[in-house]
Symmetry: C2
Subunit: 317 residues, 2 copies
């Protein structure tokens, strides 16, 4: 294991991201660098490094895949923001708001090609890496498609929701971890354990996101004003309440339509009085434990991973 600080890794990633695309048409160079200069948490590329490190490799060898993963993630954000009509992201205007829809579509498309070009700088397992990456791209598109389909479906089950977030979020985080391993080793059990770790962390991360959205004010989440509510999006806590207290939820959502804050307060009340909040917190905690155990069993649970899991577990935004 190499000693490093997450902040140093993040700084390095941020520097490298700004080297990716500096010559080209102005209407691409500007928005692409605007996006890549965003204040993302860089969870995914950090996870890629951690995986490479746990496989006893040189973290530098995983740089191309780490950057490609982060660019891919940002590509999905740019296009998702258009589809969801979100106006801010990481505290800044979204690309389609600052420029227009055409620029945002093209920015995403070009970022995808840049991610693929960056990926090709990897010096090991390129075929496998490309396959995992492309499967990930398809998964995230399918997840987003299902998420949009949910908007006009009143009968989404908890299982259907979990399948959707696995595709939309879990798959890419699993991929971030797996690609870190693949940039270093052919050891399949390492790759599998790390992918599964990421997958579980991704699921926990999304459920936690759903919960945080109910407890954070809009500024803290850095997203547009409760757009998910206004669009009638499904989230894990709401689906869990619906299973038990369908009527109460119905009336809270009606109120949220007029007064988001009051609606949220009511929903928080239900979550707490029914014990669903505790149940969800336990679920998140169990998933992270399970993820950690997978790494422990495979001799991959470095102290960096321990810290990483803790950061995920305790994050407040």
């Amino acid at each position: 294991m190499t000693n490093f600080h997450f902040d140093d890794l993040r700084n390095q990633i941020n520097e490298e991201l700004l080297q990716i695309y500096n010559s080209g048409p102005k209407s691409l160079v500007e928005p692409i660098n605007y996006v890549l200069a965003g204040k993302g948490k860089r969870f995914r590329p950090v996870l890629t490094f951690l995986s490479a490190d746990a496989c006893k490799g040189n973290v530098k060898d995983s740089f191309p895949v780490a950057l490609a993963v982060e660019i891919l993630h940002n590509f999905t954000l740019v296009h998702d923001d258009i589809m969801d009509d979100d106006s801010t992201r990481h505290g800044k205007l979204t690309v389609h708001q600052k420029w227009d829809h055409g620029v945002a579509i093209l920015t995403g498309d070009a970022m995808l090609s840049l991610a693929l070009l960056t990926l090709q700088k990897c010096s090991r397992n390129n075929q496998k890496i490309l396959k995992v990456f492309t499967d990930g791209l398809l998964a995230v598109c399918e997840g987003q498609a299902i998420d949009k389909e949910f908007e006009s479906n009143k009968n989404v089950s908890v299982d259907e929701y979990l399948n959707m977030i696995d595709l939309k979020t879990g798959y890419l985080i699993g991929m971030a971890a797996e690609l870190g391993a693949l940039s270093i080793t052919e050891n399949e059990s390492y790759c599998e354990a790390l992918r599964e770790y990421g997958y579980l962390i991704g699921r926990a991360f999304q459920i936690q996101d759903d919960l945080l959205e109910l407890y954070s004010d809009t500024k803290k989440m850095g997203k547009s004003l409760d757009s998910d509510y206004l669009l009638g999006k499904k989230t894990y806590p709401l689906l869990k309440i619906k299973e038990q207290n369908s009527n109460e939820l119905e009336s809270a959502l009606k109120i949220a339509g007029d007064n988001v804050n009051l609606g949220k307060e009511l929903i928080r009340g239900i979550l707490e009085s029914t014990g669903i909040k505790k149940e969800i917190q336990k679920l998140i905690s169990d998933m992270i434990k399970k993820a950690n155990n997978l790494l422990i069993e495979n001799g991959l649970f470095t102290s960096h991973f321990k810290d990483f899991s803790l950061i995920i577990q305790n994050r407040e935004k």
Copy 2:
């Protein structure tokens, strides 16, 4: 050289395209198959086959790249149609018109992942093929970005325009030819000659398109009602007129704003009286000759290529 008919190749491509994506979220499966069932001319994958054949390979070995090229081309059409707000394509409603913007964005994104997955079925030169493909994707994004930038630029030169169409159209057609070679051989001079052939054909194709648009009625072109004019897009014939008869063009375009057909008639009049039309036709013909000669010099000019060049030269839509 293998004996085959272009129509048989097209039919095979059409059949294979409909096998690409049949299980997944309905909101992706339906629009993707709607696009892939479109009545495109399949110029690009046919060109891929011709290249593979000229390199004395089994045409079947180039199937994955031929399909990937066609899927990539269709991905660009879906996204370009959103940006240009075109309402019909190949005589059918565009995806964003039939569904909505979100579905169309996602359809394009997923098609790109399908193109990449298809590409990976190739059994030779995969690394090189991926590099050429990804460079092509970036080029086409840059070409589209420059094309959009032109909309608000009154001083586009002929050279700037040619650079734009090389990126937006020529690059992908050159790539279609090059990938056919790469699916068969490592011979660099073959790959280069075929790429250059495609590149020149692509440039000729686009200039011809610009000219045909002035002489075809809307139905024949299968595109929306003269949207290119209404959006103030630059085309080769208009830029050539502008070099010589700026004032006359100005007034014809003003008239076209109110009455497209009358405006077009006036422009055709200028093209013919100034000899610019003949000049453009000669340019197209010279480019195709140059492209053919490149193949002749490299012993790649099969009778299929002769037919292909003739089809391009003589096409009326």
